[in-house]
């Protein structure tokens, strides 16, 4: 079941944005996000806005999806006019983008290029489920202009994959990573989940070793490791409530995180965001960095979020309604919020503190800076970086990042 969208102000039928928002677009970079709301089956933990064929019913056809996206891109063009610069990053996320044929993904990417233009060294990523890609498809994506691929590996232990309802076999994710490398992808990410009920320390260690091996083979240069979040309304949550599965233990999650930090650092990766490690600066996901650094992006597809010049906006959730609105020439925006200076401050602290580059201390008010001193004394912020005017989380601080954020904010 997809999670619920926040509530906000209504979006005008033509999707138009306040002039003030348009004026500032792209100051901190500009990207495009394409949501592909389809999955072959629904994983029990996942509350992303995605639908299986059965859930979609007859009203929406995957074959028509690229056209819908093209319609929304045209609308974006109308709304933004020439305000937006060429895209620095493009990210296809899901759902499972690779359930669409490479040709369709290519058609969408071409339309993005036509609409906004692509910066010369643009990063173009797609997420992919390990079982949903073939060497041929990967090669086709590469040819179409994709530069990066993110594979949902999650775990190398079959019983963990089973609890997560994953469809791929333990070896498949790394195999797909090799195929991607062989197909010409220089940037390959592996997504991991830790703290799954039934996962033992050894299981996690095995997953990390497999990943380290892939890194050593240059099959992957990036790892995202997420502690399992039990999202409300998911099948996982129901199973835990019924006590079929144990509730994830935060102390275990902390141990797993420390193990990940050790193994990934040992493999030559470095953390650049709380849950992300990369081989070098070039391997970091520039699209996600755009999110964390307060950049602008246009999100297309059902439930996609956009951030344009201080306005956060999100689309209607259901693909049928999304397509229908666009067919009628109307904005699929469901609601939006115009961020106040206070909101922006909260977001800046909340997001930038997650990054290894840290948060410039002069962003904080005097009380916040005092709190930063206390957090430094408590071993949560790095004293060295503190002297250079940056708030940067220590290893222990990374595990308590939300608490630090609360301390730094008024």
């Amino acid at each position: 079941m997809p999670g619920v969208l926040p509530s906000g102000e209504p979006v005008p039928a033509d999707g138009s944005l306040p002039p003030a928002a348009l004026a500032g677009v792209g100051a901190n970079g500009f990207g495009v996000y394409v949501h592909v709301p389809f999955c072959a089956s629904r994983c029990g933990y996942c509350d992303f806005n995605t639908y299986t064929a059965a859930e979609l019913g007859s009203g929406v056809r995957r074959e028509d999806y690229a056209d819908t996206v093209l319609a929304e891109l045209a609308l974006a063009r109308r709304v933004l006019g020439c305000a937006a610069p060429p895209a620095d990053t493009v990210f296809f996320g899901g759902g499972t983008p690779t359930l669409l044929p490479p040709g369709e993904l290519a058609r969408i990417l071409d339309a993005i290029t036509d609409t906004f233009g692509l910066a010369p060294d643009a990063e173009v990523t797609t997420e992919a489920n390990p079982e949903s890609v073939t060497p041929a498809a990967l090669a086709a994506l590469r040819r179409a202009g994709f530069t990066r691929i993110s594979l949902g590996m999650q775990s190398a232990a079959s019983h963990v994959l089973a609890v997560l309802d994953r469809q791929h076999t333990p070896g498949r994710a790394i195999e797909a990573a090799r195929e991607a490398r062989d197909g010409g992808f220089r940037h390959v990410n592996l997504d991991l989940i830790y703290g799954t009920p039934g996962e033992r320390a050894e299981d996690w260690q095995t997953s990390l070793e497999q990943v380290a091996k892939a890194v050593a083979e240059h099959a992957a240069d990036h790892v995202s490791a997420y502690s399992l979040i039990v999202e409300e309304g998911t099948r996982l949550a129901a199973r835990i409530r019924r006590e079929e599965l144990a509730s994830p233990d935060p102390d275990v999650a902390a141990d797993r995180y420390l193990a990940a930090e050790g193994a990934l650092t040992g493999a030559g990766l470095g953390w650049y965001e709380v849950s992300n490690w990369a081989a070098d600066a070039a391997a970091q996901c520039r699209h996600n960095l755009l999110y964390w650094r307060g950049g602008d992006w246009w999100g297309v597809g059902p439930g996609a979020h956009s951030h344009v010049g201080g306005v956060r906006q999100w689309n209607v959730q259901h693909p049928a309604r999304h397509a229908d609105l666009l067919r009628r020439g109307r904005s699929p925006g469901q609601a939006r919020e115009v961020l106040t200076p206070e909101d922006r401050h909260v977001e800046e602290v909340m997001l930038r503190l997650r990054l290894a580059e840290g948060l410039p201390l002069d962003v904080l008010d005097p009380v916040g800076r005092q709190a930063a001193d206390r957090a430094t004394a408590d071993g949560l912020l790095s004293p060295g970086r503190r002297r250079n005017g940056q708030a940067v989380l220590t290893l222990r601080g990374r595990l308590l990042a939300d608490a630090v954020v609360r301390q730094l904010l008024p």
Binding site: P6, I229, P250, V274, G303, V346, M350, L351, L400, D402
Partner: protein, 614 residues
């Protein structure tokens, strides 16, 4: 001749209905209101005189209510003669015994009601003794005779033996069906005498209640003893000498009814326009300014608070509102006392004294409901008198103010408790009382199978779950009454609770030495479950002075970060963060430890020490 203000005292009967809780006083009063025609069938509702929401919800009477009713005798020698009856319905709960004794002083007789399915219970005795102390004529009445389980013969004998009359003297009524009520009214006229006062003496009227009303200001309820008060008189309060114009004088029947005056023996109300009941104090004597009486009537004993508790607004900015609300409730409740206090843990609040736990519960509920306040109340405690070795003496109403010096002796209040039970349960009751440091005073058989057991017990031992325990160990048969009975020296200690070495004043308790460990263990364990993990380890200790008697640990939290934060999460995460920040603002800081309000509330209102309402 029966008009208010002009009634021949010979034609007046002033009486109270007294009984154990729930034996049916208010319901009997309903039938009287109907039978005498002062409330029509259409306007009737059950327990008509229980007017406060809280009384109606809980089905109990908290405040006495006086009503004037006309009655024409139906049978017997006085048949056809008309009288005025002033009836006062009284509360049955032990916390409000004070209210009953005030009401008794306003009449010449009392109807002692006994549930014919329950028989004599503890407050039956207590209220009977009060009536006898006041020299009232008591009419024993068995109620609820309509119940299949009623045993009027059996209980008539019990009651007769208690009062010293014949079983046939016990009247039988049903407040539900109205059976026997007309006869009871006839008997009230026949058996009781009219008020005796000096008609021509300077006016003296006893204030037996004083109520603040938003619309009318202070309404003062009086019983005229000597002389009379006219509507045009200026009245004088004898304690202060203050003189007031009378704006209105009248009787309650059962709504206020203006009258030209109040004559000797009559019960009614006065309105003077004063805004503060302290200017119109219960127990004071009203006289006429132009022709004042020389000597005041004997007043009432001031009610003394039995238990104390700290009341704190959850939202600190509500403190002034809490003060106003207490001032307001105090207007109608002489027994409520309070003074400001500060708690490091709970902020600004008031230490309040109550007649008992029901009283506490009701005041708290009224504050929350009528004044829209959210409150925390600390665990109720009694008053201790602590003598130090250096000779200094401290009266402690708040355990955290227990003196630091070398203690010579601690005195605690004791009560004389009366428990009534079928004789099968004597053993169980003695066991419970023994376990609570009780000293047996005596035991009497009220009938073959009903026993009265009397104990001296520390008040502190009975304010928590004593009654619940009595009830559960006696299949619900036990009834309990108690009255203060001085104080005794006790082997008492103060147990402090410390969070990370910082004392939490709200959790300090004065307990008997033998129960200190138990208190320490249960409190530290409870807090461990209630206080969220912090960024550092938090030891929770219970200590007597510097000696730690129990310890728990809250392990440091190691992970507090949302793993994933992609573009679509930002709004959601920001809103979550703002909610968390809001939650943090509502945390109370104990040293560096953040304690949620809920933890205080939960820790202070454990199941075990829930006050009992009945």
């Amino acid at each position: 001749m029966l008009d208010p203000g002009a009634t021949d005292p010979e034609r007046i009967r002033n009486f109270c209905i007294i009984a154990h809780i729930d034996h049916g006083k208010s319901t009997l009063a309903d039938r009287m209101l109907q039978l005498t025609g002062v409330v029509s069938a259409r306007d009737m509702r059950a327990q008509y005189l229980d007017r406060m929401d809280i009384e109606r919800e809980r089905g109990i009477t908290i405040k006495s209510q006086a009503v004037r009713m006309p009655w024409t005798v139906r049978e017997g020698e006085q048949k056809g003669e008309s009288y005025v009856l002033n009836m006062i319905d009284t509360p049955g709960h032990v916390d409000f015994t004070y209210e009953v004794s005030r009401s008794l002083a306003a009449g010449e007789g009392a109807v002692l009601l006994v549930d014919a399915a329950q028989g004599i219970e503890a407050q039956t005795l207590a209220n009977l003794y009060l009536a006898m102390e006041n020299d009232l004529h008591v009419i024993p009445v068995l109620n609820k005779i309509d119940l299949p389980a009623a045993q009027p013969e059996k209980y008539a004998e019990e009651l007769a033996r208690l009062i010293g009359c014949q079983p046939e003297d016990c009247l039988r009524v049903s407040g539900k069906t109205g059976e026997g009520v007309a006869h009871l009214l006839d008997e009230i006229v026949r058996q009781m005498h009219g008020p005796t006062g000096q008609d021509d003496a300077p006016a003296r009227a006893m204030i037996f209640d004083s109520v603040y009303d938003v619309y009318r200001g202070v309404v003062t309820y009086v019983r005229v003893i000597d002389g009379r008060i006219e509507a045009r008189d200026r009245i004088k309060m004898m304690s202060t000498g203050a003189v007031h114009e009378l704006l209105e004088i009248g009787v309650i029947s059962p709504e206020p009814l203006k009258s030209p005056g109040l004559g000797g023996g009559e019960v009614g109300y006065l309105i003077t326009g004063v805004k503060d009941v302290r200017q119109s104090k219960v127990g004071d004597t009203v006289t006429i300014a132009a022709k004042p009486a020389a000597v005041a009537l004997a007043g009432y004993k001031e009610p003394k608070p039995m238990v104390y508790s700290g009341l704190y607004p959850i939202d600190g900015s509500d403190y002034p509102n809490l003060r106003d609300a207490l001032d307001r409730l105090k207007l109608n409740d002489a027994a409520l006392v309070y003074e400001p206090e500060t708690s490091a843990a709970l902020g600004f609040g008031f230490r309040c004294g109550f007649l008992g736990l029901l009283h506490l519960e009701i005041i708290r509920e009224r504050l929350e409901r009528e004044f829209d306040l959210d409150l925390i109340s600390t665990a109720p405690n009694v008053v201790y008198r602590v003598e130090l070795e250096d000779g200094a003496e401290h009266v402690v109403t708040n355990p955290s103010e227990y003196p630091a010096g070398k203690v010579a002796v601690v005195h605690e209040p004791v009560v004389r408790a009366t428990v009534l039970i079928p004789n099968d349960y004597v053993g169980a009751v003695m066991e419970i009382c023994q376990g609570r440091r009780g000293a047996l005073l005596g035991m009497d058989y009220l009938s073959q199978d009903r026993v009265e057991v009397r104990y001296t017990l520390p008040l502190a031992e009975i304010i928590y779950d004593f009654f619940d325990q009595l009830k559960s160990r006696t299949k619900g048969y036990a009834s309990l009454d108690y009255e203060t009975s001085g104080e005794q020296a006790g082997d008492l200690v103060k147990v402090d609770i410390l969070l990370q070495g910082e004392q939490v004043d709200a959790f300090s308790a004065i307990v008997h030495k033998d129960k200190a460990y138990q208190y320490g263990v249960s409190m530290t364990q409870r807090l461990r479950g209630l206080i969220p993990r912090q960024q550092f380890e938090v030891p929770i200790q219970a200590a007597i002075g510097s000696r730690v008697i129990a310890r728990e640990n809250i392990r440091a939290i190691r992970k507090d970060v949302l793993a994933k934060c992609y573009g679509g999460d930002i709004t959601r995460k920001r809103k979550l963060l703002e909610k968390q920040k809001e939650g943090k603002r509502r945390m109370k800081m104990v040293g560096r430890v953040e304690v949620p309000q809920e933890a205080f509330i939960a820790a202070l209102s454990s199941d075990g020490d829930k006050p009992t309402s009945k």
